[in-house]
């Protein structure tokens, strides 16, 4: 983000390449010399103008060279409208649109795409350091290719997590959010174009480690799975309620460390169920494998549902085709005299 005026794209990268999907039309500009706080900025084609506290204007031209300019002749757009007394009076226009409508629409498209392919998609969320990636690696190994698996990884920087997943033999795509704190549906949509999504498989999306922001963003997944490790404190669900409310499964990880930490598993699950009644919970240890059978079985049920849904859709489409064909045949019969 530009530290002068707050503009600037998040440098989101998928597999190392910048994604051209940012909404802001501005480019980053260098900070000017300090001449008092910047009051407001007016955008014009060809450059950015800053008006400083001392009354002077300063412009940035794309390409680096800065120019000094007097106030007056170049003031256009917003400033002119304020002083133009012939303009229409103010009026209210109703919108009633969810702020996240655009993300939700992208998520819905992702969801339809995944459903068409019978893919069971999970969005893994947690604090950094809960053991998500290690758990994911062990899960892929234990899944042992009973169906195809693919992974989308999200981190601010590096491809370390995608590399670790690829070492298991599963395909993985790394999203780097740059300064961003969560994955959104657009990013996942881009990542999906880099993945060969096999029919009737499982897709794991490992979100950016963050117990706050990812909760608000639908990616098109079937479920959010929240991972809480026993080294984190059993009251996390109360302190970070939005994330636990958004989840359909809680994995309590690193259970092998329970003898060494003050963590009440029952209390943690109770707290989580206060903010998300009926939340399913599995206690597991990636190191020992405890609880993994239950976790794998849970994934299998979800994957079987996704496959069955796809089959049902195919059957429905076949019936529709058969119906249309018979109607076509009736219409094409010769006229009876």
């Amino acid at each position: 983000m530009c530290t002068t005026c707050g503009c600037g794209a998040n440098e989101v990268k998928v597999e190392g390449k910048t994604v051209d999907g940012s909404a802001t039309p501005h480019e980053n500009v260098d900070a000017t010399e300090d001449r008092g706080p910047v009051q407001y900025r007016e955008h014009q084609a060809g450059g950015h103008w800053h008006r400083h506290a001392d009354g002077t204007w300063h412009s940035h031209v794309h390409g680096g060279a800065s120019a000094h300019a007097e106030r007056g002749g170049h003031a256009a757009g917003a400033l002119a409208a304020v002083h133009d007394h012939g303009v229409a009076p103010a009026r209210r226009v109703q919108i009633e649109e969810d702020i996240l409508a655009r993300n939700d629409a992208s998520a819905a498209r992702n969801r339809r795409f995944l459903a068409d392919h019978g893919v069971f998609a999970l969005n893994l969320v947690s604090s950094p350091g809960s053991g998500k990636t290690t758990l994911l690696v062990r899960t892929i190994e234990q899944w042992a290719k009973r169906t195809p698996v693919a992974v989308i990884e999200g981190d601010q920087q590096t491809s370390r997590d995608a590399d670790r997943v690829r070492a298991t033999g599963a395909p993985a795509v790394q999203i780097n959010t740059g300064k961003g704190c969560h994955l959104d549906a657009e990013m996942v949509s881009h990542a999906l174009t880099h993945l060969d999504v096999a029919d009737d498989g499982v897709l794991f999306i490992e979100n950016v480690g963050n117990l706050v922001c990812p909760a608000a963003f639908d990616l098109g997944e079937a479920h959010k799975v929240v991972i809480l490790s026993v080294t984190e404190g059993e009251d996390k669900p109360l302190k970070y309620p939005d994330m636990f409310h958004a989840a359909d499964l809680l994995l309590v990880n690193k259970a092998d460390l329970l003898p060494y930490v003050e963590f009440d598993v029952g209390a943690a699950i109770d707290y989580a169920r206060r903010v998300r009644p009926g939340l399913q919970a599995i206690v597991l240890s990636t190191r020992t494998g405890a609880g993994f059978d239950e976790w794998i079985a849970w994934i299998e049920r979800g994957a079987a549902d996704a496959r069955a849904q796809r089959q049902a859709t195919i059957e429905a489409l076949r019936r529709r085709i058969a119906d249309l064909e018979s109607r076509l045949a009736r219409h094409a019969e010769p006229e009876r005299t």
Binding site: C7, A78, A90, I95
Partner: protein
């Protein structure tokens, strides 16, 4: 913080409507934010201010209406008000609650000229 992403989405919605209505400027944006929504309103104000600079909505007033939180309590078989997620039913103290109101984050309308 994700409030920047929310502010960018708000700007897209606002600019799109303003242009369709031939507006020169957006004077005000009215939001409905639920008490239980995943957003910090002061952070949102800050981000909205930053993201609208140089746009049609530069200097627009941000009016935020907060909708109170409500949930269906399964034990009481009634709708009760709740101040935050994780809060118990104010009547029976239980947690068998299904939130029915207060999660929305919506752009209600804009004032343009």
């Amino acid at each position: 913080m994700h409030e920047m992403a929310l502010a960018e989405s708000m700007l897209q919605i606002v600019e799109s409507t303003a242009r369709k209505n031939g507006a020169q400027r957006v004077l005000a944006v009215r939001l409905e934010i639920g008490a239980l929504a995943s957003v910090e309103t002061e952070a949102l104000r800050f981000c909205f201010d930053a993201v609208t600079r140089g746009s049609l909505a530069d200097q627009a007033r941000l009016e935020i209406e907060v909708t109170p939180g409500a949930a269906w309590c399964m034990a009481c078989s009634d709708t009760v008000s709740i101040a935050a997620r994780g809060a118990p039913c104010p009547r029976c103290g239980g947690y068998q609650l299904a939130v029915s109101q207060g999660e929305a984050m919506r752009v209600k309308d804009i004032e343009i000229k």
